[in-house]
């Protein structure tokens, strides 16, 4: 039975510019399926991957809502007119008042907002390396409100770690991951800082590894998992922070050989905070596709876009969505 489907103006470019389409079928569902086959771009907005009508698609048979007529099984007759009206809906953040108050300052930042905070809350961040130099980064991630902070470090607290912000002298000799998790948990009840569980699947990684070999290995794991990651490498001057969104030049392409050492200087601790900030950016703004490197030399930072080395294994990748 020929039925007329009325296309609202904002959707007409998906229907070849037409205001009306004619399709046949015994029910609203059959008519809609035929429209979707004839106009795939429109169909993609109306039907999901399994062919079911998306929940926001409003349908009217004449002036009556189809769902009040029995849904897609509602019978149609010759000459009926079906109007498509996508529902327009949304909602404010699911953050409660306490969380809003806690993160009010960053919620106000344009481009961050409630959506960014919700992405942080849903994130599982693995921190590889938790010595004293990494402590500002872990604290910053907790304060920003990541959902889960997995601390991956097999070592114990040593005297050199006391230069950081989390470890106390009486904790020397205790496992770093457990001590850091317990201390960090006191800063926010909205975040779960935990020792990294074997086999855990993080959604982002911050590498603060004690050696270049460990950093390269951890960054490679994150690259293969196609998750955003940031690597902090400290050296005698201060160090570098390298941000690597999925598909960007890998850590091996982006670094230059650091001289080693993890000096307990304020500049190094500042760089660790900056590394956390870079990771937060990648979690909050998943559309970021370009990698960048921040070098800190005697307290003075410089920023440059990372470049892929010819022949690197990461060259075959493209950013998600391209």
């Amino acid at each position: 039975m020929p039925v007329t489907i009325l296309i609202p103006a904002p959707l007409r470019e998906l229907a070849g510019g037409k205001a009306e389409l004619v399709a046949a079928g015994a029910t609203v569902g059959e008519v809609l399926a035929q429209v979707a086959r004839a106009h795939p771009r429109l169909g993609a907005r109306l039907l999901d991957e399994s062919g079911q009508v998306r929940r926001y698609v409003g349908l009217f048979l004449g002036d009556e809502e189809v769902r009040e007529l029995g849904g897609l099984g509602a019978a149609v007759r010759d000459g009926d007119r079906i109007s498509l009206v996508p529902a327009i809906a949304g909602g404010a953040t699911e953050l409660d008042g306490e969380r809003i108050a806690r993160w009010a300052r960053q919620l106000l930042v344009p481009g961050f907002g409630a959506g960014g905070q919700e992405r942080l809350m849903a994130s599982r961040v693995r921190v590889v390396g938790a010595d004293g130099s990494a402590t500002p980064a872990m604290l910053a991630l907790v304060q920003a409100g990541v959902g889960t902070l997995w601390i991956d470090d097999p070592e114990t607290v040593g005297p050199a770690d006391l230069c950081g912000w989390l470890y106390a002298p009486e904790q020397v000799g205790q496992p770093r991951a457990a001590v850091a998790a317990a201390t960090l948990a006191r800063f926010s009840r909205f975040v779960a800082p935990l020792p990294y569980p074997a086999g855990g699947a993080p959604s982002a990684t911050l590498v603060c590894a004690a050696s270049s070999a460990q950093a390269l290995a951890a960054a490679e794991v994150a690259r293969r998992a196609r998750i955003p990651h940031v690597v902090l490498e400290l050296d005698g001057e201060a160090g570098q922070v390298i941000s690597i969104p999925p598909g960007a030049p890998c850590f091996a392409c982006s670094r230059f050989s650091a001289s080693g050492g993890r000096p307990p200087v304020a500049g190094a601790l500042a760089l660790a905070s900056l590394a956390a900030q870079e990771l937060l950016r990648l979690v909050v703004e998943p559309e970021v596709k370009e990698g960048r490197r921040i070098d800190m030399v005697r307290g003075v930072p410089s920023v440059r876009q990372t470049q892929r080395l010819p022949g690197c294994v990461c060259a075959g990748e493209t950013p998600p969505g391209d």
């Binding site: 404010a92 344009p110 959506g115």
Partner: protein, 139 residues
């Protein structure tokens, strides 16, 4: 005011939002006859303090009116009573279908309130793979 909302009746959106400090307001911004004006609609979301849904019957009428007045839908607007003017995950879920905007070329405008007073409007436009925001008004 920046280019993002130039010529749009942002002051009226502020008045509409502040006139409803307990529920989110929502509606369309429509260009007709060279002028952009708000078409406010009833919010029929079950929890209107934290969500919005344009009344379907009013939306149907608006689509017919668009044809009658040769209007152009330029944006969907709504307010947030708290939490800023960013698009929340629920806003994105409502604006996208299969990773693309339901209404191609239509911006999303969010008026942010705090304590019942509007302090920021962001205009979110689709930039190929995500919405990007531009501040259009603040105080």
């Amino acid at each position: 005011m920046t280019e993002a909302g130039a010529g749009w009746p942002l002051a009226r959106l502020v008045a509409l939002a502040e006139g409803s400090p307990g529920e989110e307001v929502c509606g369309l911004l429509v260009r007709a006859g060279g002028v952009v004006e708000p078409w406010p609609m009833q919010n029929v979301a079950p929890a209107p303090a934290t969500a919005f849904e344009l009344a379907p019957t009013e939306l149907l009428a608006a689509m017919r009116r668009l044809d009658g007045e040769r209007g152009e839908l330029v944006a969907v607007y709504h307010s947030h009573l708290a939490g800023g003017a960013g698009l929340s995950t629920r806003d994105l879920a409502g604006a996208l279908a299969g990773g693309a905007p339901i209404f191609p070329g239509v911006a999303q405008v969010v008026v942010a309130l705090e304590g019942g007073r509007a302090y920021r409007i962001l205009v979110h436009r689709w930039a190929g793979s995500a919405f990007t925001a531009a501040e259009s008004w603040s105080r």
